[in-house]
């Protein structure tokens, strides 16, 4: 059962020749055959995966590792639909920077994972190809929009996975499925070849079994990209270097107020553990996250209406009648928010409140190195929970919207179980403080400290 291994363990085994990449890939494919009919994490399987594994160079940084990729990353040779009927059967003409870097590092793309159509949602229930089920309990949602990637990692159908986050789309499904989800700073990882959702917050990142695995993948996919002008020119550091000093960590009381009691208790227990590890943890205050729901909803809808205007079915894909209900709602609300006479009232005002939220974080990070920020107010909800609620995602993502609209980096990792479902704990840091977030999360996750 090599598919159960973490990325770090699998790399070690491959380098020591304990097993081959083909055996590792085969175990993942067998697991997909066995469990995916009941989970539906994958939309497409790479039929060439075994051949690629046979010829891969295992001395490369990700040599021979099977990685699942969210279906909004363009992948040469594999269909890319963003879980939408508009793009059914679409074969990309070029490779996304992220998957290009993974392939160059020797990874084997094992398949493309299900998501909310166009990444519009936090449940994977709005996929035009049917919902993904939570591997921890199939009656429950996996979260989203990177729900397929989170489920694929949780059910050991791959060694690691790639997702993208606009506001919670990596961290929240990771939380609901009980895996690690890491959102790098906006501009740290290239968006080139990622089907655009909200361009001012879209951030690709990994979903993994351990924090160390997330650090390893981020180092490979991060960096300046000439094809995405918003990528930062800052050098990419080694995210695995050990933590040198103890930190000051704040717990925003407004965030704890929206947590469900049992989940909150587990998060406070995790905070206590950080104290035991030598960090100073104390309560602090931030702008209430409810304001971020308003800002995010307006900004996201507006950017969606612009980004999805290109799908006309003339050059590729199907015409606009193929859009699902959720996409239509988002495009229309964005069109309205940007339309003449309403621009100042909605879009411009939202961008001003966004400035206030960014300034509030600046102030907080003047005092604290990191802040505690769980990705979800509670564990996964039941299949069907999104029915008739057009603001489902925004309400579920209340705790990760502020850090997303401010472009911060953050992580979600399991910290306990309520009624058999995983509960997560999270940390956010200033822009480009990936190393601090990963180091503290790694330290927290070590059993023997």
């Amino acid at each position: 059962m090599l598919n159960n291994l973490s990325l770090t363990e699998a790399l070690d085994g491959l380098k020591k020749k304990k097993f081959s990449s083909l055996e590792l890939v085969q175990d993942c494919l067998n697991q997909i055959d066995k469990v995916d009919p009941g989970i539906h994490a994958f939309l497409h399987i790479n039929k060439d995966a075994q051949n690629e594994a046979k010829t891969v160079d295992v001395s490369k940084p990700l040599g021979g590792i099977p990685i699942a990729v969210k279906d909004n990353f363009l992948t040469l040779g594999l269909p890319t639909t963003a879980s939408s009927r508009v793009l059914e059967g679409y074969m990309p003409d070029y490779e996304s920077t992220v998957t290009g870097k993974l392939k160059q590092a020797g990874a084997v793309i094992i398949g493309k994972t299900n998501m909310d159509a166009w990444a519009h949602g936090s449940s994977t229930e709005s996929s035009d190809y049917g919902v993904t089920r939570n591997p921890r309990n199939p009656d429950y949602l996996p979260g989203g929009s990177s729900g397929g990637s989170a489920a694929a990692v949780a059910a050991d159908m791959c060694t690691a996975a790639i997702g993208s986050e606009t506001a919670g789309s990596i961290r929240q499904p990771a939380a609901w499925c009980g895996v690690v989800g890491f959102k790098p700073t906006y501009g740290r990882v290239s968006r080139y070849g990622v089907i655009a959702m909200a361009s001012s917050t879209d951030s690709p990142g990994p979903l993994t079994k351990t924090v160390e695995d997330a650090a390893l993948i981020t180092r490979i996919i991060a960096g300046r990209d000439q094809y995405d002008a918003t990528t930062s020119p800052l050098p990419v550091p080694d995210y695995l270097s050990p933590l040198k000093s103890s930190l000051k960590i704040g717990i925003p009381k407004e965030y704890m107020e929206v947590m469900q009691p049992e989940a909150k208790e587990l998060v406070l227990k995790a905070a206590k553990r950080l104290e035991e590890l030598g960090h100073l943890v104390e309560e602090t205050s931030l702008i209430h996250p409810k304001y971020s729901i308003g800002v995010y909803t307006i900004v996201q809808r507006s950017e969606v209406s612009s980004n999805l205007a290109r799908y006309d079915g003339i050059r590729y894909g199907h015409d606009r009648s193929y859009f699902g209900e959720e996409a239509k709602r988002r495009i229309m609300l964005g069109t309205y928010a940007l339309s003449s006479g309403y621009y100042d009232q909605y879009y411009n005002r939202a961008q001003k409140v966004r400035t206030l939220i960014i300034q509030d974080f600046h102030k907080a990070f003047h005092k604290y190195d990191l802040l505690i920020d769980p990705a979800s107010p509670g564990p996964a909800l039941k299949i069907g929970s999104t029915a008739g609620d057009p603001m489902f995602g925004e309400m579920q993502d209340i705790l990760v919207e502020p850090s997303s609209i401010a472009g911060l980096t953050g992580i979600s990792l399991p910290c306990g179980v309520v009624n058999g479902l995983p509960v997560s704990f999270g940390l956010i840091g200033p822009q480009f403080a990936e190393n601090l977030v990963l180091q503290v999360a790694h330290q927290y996750a070590q059993p023997n400290l």
Binding site: S200, S232, G294, S321, F323, L356
Partner: protein, 87 residues
Amino acid sequence: MDVAHVAKLANLPLKPGEQAKFQKQFEETLKTIAVINELDTTGVEPTSQVIGLVSVVRQDEVDLSRILPPPAANNGYFVVPSVFNAQ
């Protein structure tokens, strides 16, 4: 909100029943997001680029790597089937 008008602006065909359904849902959403009006934004500048990058440009260099070798290209020009057949 005039749903039919916005649908026209967005070039989205609506299915029967969607106009009335969306109307109600949009009104609820607009009520929820009105919360942003509670904060004072006097003198606050709007933010759209969060990591502070401005006017990113690259060198204007000719990329010949995309010009295919012969017979697909000749003298740096693409070779395509002729439009006027010289028969």
